[in-house]
């Protein structure tokens, strides 16, 4: 210890300097603006131009939006109320609300049915989307397709009941035969289900007469509006995911026949515009069917959109499968898991997780593409706007308001899907990744 040291210690401050706020010009909004908006001359010019553009846009759109008329019988009445000032005619949305949502042929006293089906859809989807919810809720999810069919299409309850029982029969046959081999169980299950449906086809009419439980039937051609978009979107997305998985696995299969069938299917579908497939569904399929058979148009459209989406989803999932390290396959093999177990327990959970962004991308695209059915004269939301509503003498010419409304509805759904997927990715990423 030297004197110098002892002295130097005297210069050490005994108390801590209290933290002082930075100079005023450097805080809060000012600081942020200076750093982000006016950091250089070029930046400042861009900022001012941007503000001008926003102002210009707002100066005519805001009055139009805010001055909108919500209550009018038709366009001329609306114009009278506006009296030359700028303003939207949202009255068309209020007046044609039911048509926009349900189409113009769905019986209005039955509107509660699709509405209830929609509410139940939220309940059924919840346990699939949020894994924290009790797994028992999945039972309802499994029943939902049959409930929804009964609610929306109506008719005898025995049709969906037997459809459901067919699946149950198939499942039990699968369980029985699965012990021998997976393939045997699978085909046994399929055969059992079809046999059941074939037999039940004879029973249903009599049973419906003896024990009539039914809702007034609504034929497929009466479906329309946003409801039709939702039906097509939900059904096609939920069907195309499992089919896409099978196609992706098939494409990587060791068996040349299966592999080539999948490759040809995927490449063919991806090479054809959806609208072409829809025309095929509308016209050509009917041409191939024996005359007199009615093959529901919605069903045909669902098949086409599902094929289209599953080809894309298959490619997304194939990417996920290829991204998994080879060691995962080898570890599963070396533990003695068979192909089905390895895929279901090890490979697919990881591959699907990687594929989420791509799958959501396809799902969002598919949902918007359901509006294409308007070109084959189905009255989905866009079909309703372009057809019955704009063609009516009352509302001829209110393009902006209607399409803005349609855009808004689609945006809400698609933005919701994309937000969900981001949330899911964050959930799956906590602690799992290596």
């Amino acid at each position: 210890m030297s004197d110098t040291h002892a002295q130097s210690v005297g210069f050490v401050q005994k108390t801590q300097i209290p933290p002082s706020p930075p100079p005023a010009a450097e805080t809060g909004a000012f600081k942020w603006m200076r750093e982000n908006l006016f950091s250089s001359t070029a930046n400042a010019i861009m900022t001012i131009l941007g503000i001008l553009a926003i102002y210009w846009f707002a100066s005519f759109s805001l009055p139009w939006l805010l001055n909108g008329v919500w209550d009018a019988e038709n366009l001329s009445q609306c114009r009278e109320i506006l009296d030359g000032t700028s303003g939207a005619c949202f009255a068309v949305i209020a007046e044609r609300w039911n048509q926009l949502i349900f189409g113009f042929q769905y019986p209005s006293e039955e509107y509660w049915r699709p509405f209830l089906a929609f509410l139940l859809l939220l309940v059924a989807a919840a346990p699939v989307l949020f894994s924290k919810l009790p797994r028992k809720m999945l039972i309802f999810t499994g029943l939902y397709p049959f409930i929804a069919f009964f609610l929306i299409w109506g008719g005898s309850i025995w049709v969906p009941v037997f459809a459901l029982l067919g699946f149950v029969a198939g499942y039990f046959a699968f369980k029985k035969l699965e012990k021998q081999s997976f393939a045997m169980g699978f085909f046994g299950g399929v055969i059992a289900a079809f046999a059941f449906w074939w037999v039940s086809g004879f029973i249903t009419p009599d049973l419906s007469r003896i024990i009539p439980i039914d809702l007034p039937a609504v034929p497929s051609r009466d479906m329309g509006g946003f409801m039709l978009n939702l039906i097509l979107g939900t059904v096609c997305i939920s069907l195309s995911l499992p089919i896409g998985i099978l196609l992706a696995l098939g494409r990587r299969s060791q068996m040349p026949l299966i592999k080539w069938i999948c490759v040809i299917f995927i490449e063919f579908i991806r090479g054809v515009p959806l609208i072409t497939l829809l025309f095929v569904a509308n016209v050509v399929l009917a041409y191939f069917l024996p005359p007199g058979t009615t093959f529901d148009l919605i069903l045909r459209v669902i098949i086409m959109i599902t094929m289209f989406a599953s080809a894309y989803i298959a490619e997304v999932i194939r990417g996920g499968l290829a991204a998994l390290p080879k060691g995962q396959y080898e570890a599963a093999d070396s533990l003695g898991l068979d192909y089905a177990q390895a895929m279901r327990l090890i490979i697919l959970p990881q591959a699907l997780k990687i594929s989420i962004p791509g799958i959501v991308n396809v799902a969002v695209g598919l949902f918007k593409d359901t509006t294409l059915v308007s070109v084959i004269s189905m009255f989905d939301m866009v079909g309703m706007i372009r057809g019955p509503i704009l063609a009516s003498t009352d509302w001829n010419g209110v393009y902006w308001e209607l399409f803005l409304f349609a855009a808004l509805l689609f945006f809400v759904v698609c933005y919701g899907i994309s937000q969900y997927s981001q949330w899911l990715e964050r959930q799956l990423n906590t602690g799992h990744s290596r």
Partner: protein, 264 residues
């Protein structure tokens, strides 16, 4: 000095065996990758309870050899018999052999989406159809054995490399295998973690597990192995008891290899 495969096996394997029961019997096995002849005329008999260390230069076919034993790779000629079951393209046979033979990989290959416990119970539950509770008890038993029972509910990504490799060993043991294969289990690990994995393997060896281990840990070989096999260019060049193998190598290729890995 010529070193053809025949005149070099200095000790007759018969003299090294620890029991009469044959665990693995490989006869005249050959394998090609396309036109590349990876394994040539491999003859190898492993008796129950033997601990065999396989070494050799990179690319000599060590991994390929032990991967052929549980059919991760297909061989094209000759025969492999594991526990009396002959490996053929019959999937039933392959699955049976795989559930009897445990394997540990260089990069652990744990399942990152499952917890440690789930990693260990998955195969017993689905392949052996063990009830979940029983499988979990077994898993905890082996996790204790590899000294990481407290990590059971973590995910592999949260563990160190050494811990992951020990979990991988426990995962294999949960299937109650009769034979364990190791493919360079310590070569992806930091030095301080190598020991904890080797200790686990030594313990396993002391319990009489039949082990085939590809490794360059010569200390481990000296301590545990009762036979060391040297491979080069797809052939078994030399095999001997560890003492004799290290102190008195017969072929030039073995000498060169040993001087390279022990020399520095």
């Amino acid at each position: 000095m010529t070193d053809t495969a025949t005149d070099i096996s200095s000790v007759n394997p018969e003299q090294m065996k620890v029991s009469d029961e044959v665990a693995i019997d490989i006869r005249n096995m050959n394998k090609w990758y396309g036109t590349f002849h990876v394994l040539r005329d491999i003859d190898l008999t492993v008796y129950r309870g033997e601990r065999i260390v396989i070494c050799g230069p990179s690319g000599s076919g060590k991994s390929t050899l032990i991967r052929c034993i549980n059919a991760l790779e297909e061989h094209q000629k000759g025969s492999i018999e594991v526990d009396g079951t002959k490996l053929s393209s019959d999937l039933k046979n392959i699955d049976k052999i795989r559930s009897e033979v445990g394997m540990c990989f260089q990069h652990f290959n744990l399942f990152p989406h499952l917890t440690i416990l789930e990693n260990c119970t998955l195969a017993p539950i689905w392949v052996r159809k063990t009830p979940k509770k029983e499988a979990e008890e077994t898993a905890m038993h082996f996790l204790e054995k590899v000294k990481i029972p407290d990590q059971a509910n973590k995910y592999p990504g949260q563990l160190s490399g050494g811990q992951q490799q020990r979990v991988a060993i426990a995962r294999s043991l949960c299937m109650k295998p009769r034979i364990m294969l190791f493919d360079e289990p310590t070569s992806a690990l930091d030095p301080e973690m190598i020991k904890e994995v080797l200790d686990t393997m030594i313990e396993l060896a002391q319990e009489g597990m039949t082990m085939l281990c590809v490794t360059h840990e010569m200390g481990f070989a000296r301590q545990v192995a009762n036979r060391v096999i040297f491979m080069d260019q797809g052939q078994i060049v030399e095999q001997n008891e560890p003492e004799a193998f290290f102190n008195n190598p017969q072929s030039d290729r073995t000498k060169l290899f040993l001087s390279q890995i022990l020399g520095h």
